[in-house]
Amino acid sequence: MIHLQLRSEYKVKGGKLIKVTLEVENDVIKKALIAGDFFLYPEDAIEHIERSLVGASLNSSDLEYIVAKAVKESGAQLLGFSINDIAEALKLASQSKV
């Protein structure tokens, strides 16, 4: 079993910074942290979004779809960043694997 921690920092146009940390086992996401200085309402929706990524394949092209679905389910509103920015930050983290 290969356990990895992957990180990325993604600067959003306009200035906010998304910092992603992924705990990964055999290319499957076990834990996701989407941290940063952005705004999301209601705030606890972030935990739902993070949980929704657990079990997803790191190389999945569906990560953006998973995030979009979780945002919709939690009725979250994003300010200072977008679903696409989260997806870009996730992609960057997944590519940090050497």
């Binding site: 906010k16 940390t21 705004f39």
Partner: protein, 257 residues
């Protein structure tokens, strides 16, 4: 016309300060207290991090401990802030979306930041500061940031709080915040000085906290066309703030992310 309240709660520690903001928010959402503009300062100096930030990524806990700087996680998003004792004034506005919209129309969350920040801008202009709102959540003077602001909402009520810098202590800020991987060089300090400004720099160090408080109250009152009357927190607010203070001071909350 229903009056709003003005609360000058003076200095408090980080956990109490955040506890009272949340207590007013909760009691406003139950319609127990009126819309409120509060001003306060921080003693001891403290770092506050945004709800979504990672404690270990943003804060040097050893440096905070050595310098006697408290660390608190906010219920609002946004970035990490070093609140220097007497180096800034913090305000909070607690108002229902409905009553805010009745005063100044806005469409969405970004619009609500804009109207509240424009009231702040009007207040700062009364002091002679050539301030303007810069989306998402900043107030700038000639391109330099003087105020950062952050919102949360509970049951249709907005809490927006933010800081107005009087002066900066950039060396300490660099010690307590993990601002960059670069060393704390003169160049890095210069870079912050180019991006940030203060009341002292823009106007004069003769400006007092009292002047800024008066200017903010005047700015909000004029911009929202509402009487803002000096008052004191209710017993219910003080009790609830003490209860919330415990959560803000707990490690499980501070290190939540």
């Amino acid at each position: 016309m229903l009056a709003w309240r003005f609360l000058d709660t003076g200095e408090g520690d980080a956990y109490w300060n955040m506890g009272l903001d949340e207590a007013i928010l909760m009691l406003r959402s139950e319609d127990i207290v009126p819309a409120t503009l509060r001003v306060y300062t921080w003693n001891p100096s403290a770092v506050s991090i945004g709800y979504f930030q990672s404690l270990e990524q943003e804060v040097d806990l050893d440096a905070c401990k050595a310098l006697g700087v408290d660390v608190v996680r906010r219920i609002t998003g946004g970035g990490a802030v070093y609140h220097e004792r007497d180096g800034e004034l913090t305000y909070s506005l607690i108002v229902s979306e409905e009553e805010l919209r009745a005063k100044r129309f806005f469409d969405d969350i970004q619009g609500s930041y804009k109207v509240i920040c424009e009231a702040l801008v009007l207040g700062l202009r009364k002091l002679g500061v050539n301030a303007e709102f810069k989306p998402v959540n900043d107030i700038i003077v000639n391109g330099r940031k003087i105020s950062g602001n952050a919102q949360t909402r509970r049951r249709g009520v907005i809490l927006q709080h933010g800081t107005i810098l009087l002066r900066t202590d950039i060396p300490t800020m660099f010690k307590v915040l993990k601002v960059s991987k670069e060393k704390v060089s003169d160049k890095a300090i210069k870079a912050v000085e180019d991006r940030v400004t203060t009341i002292y720099r823009e106007v004069s160090s003769n400006i007092t906290l009292g002047d800024i408080k008066d200017a903010l109250r005047g700015g909000f009152s004029e911009y929202f066309n509402v009487d803002i009357r000096a008052s004191t927190p209710t017993q219910a607010e003080l009790d609830l703030a003490l209860e919330y203070r415990k959560r803000f001071a707990s490690w499980s909350w501070i290190a939540k992310r």
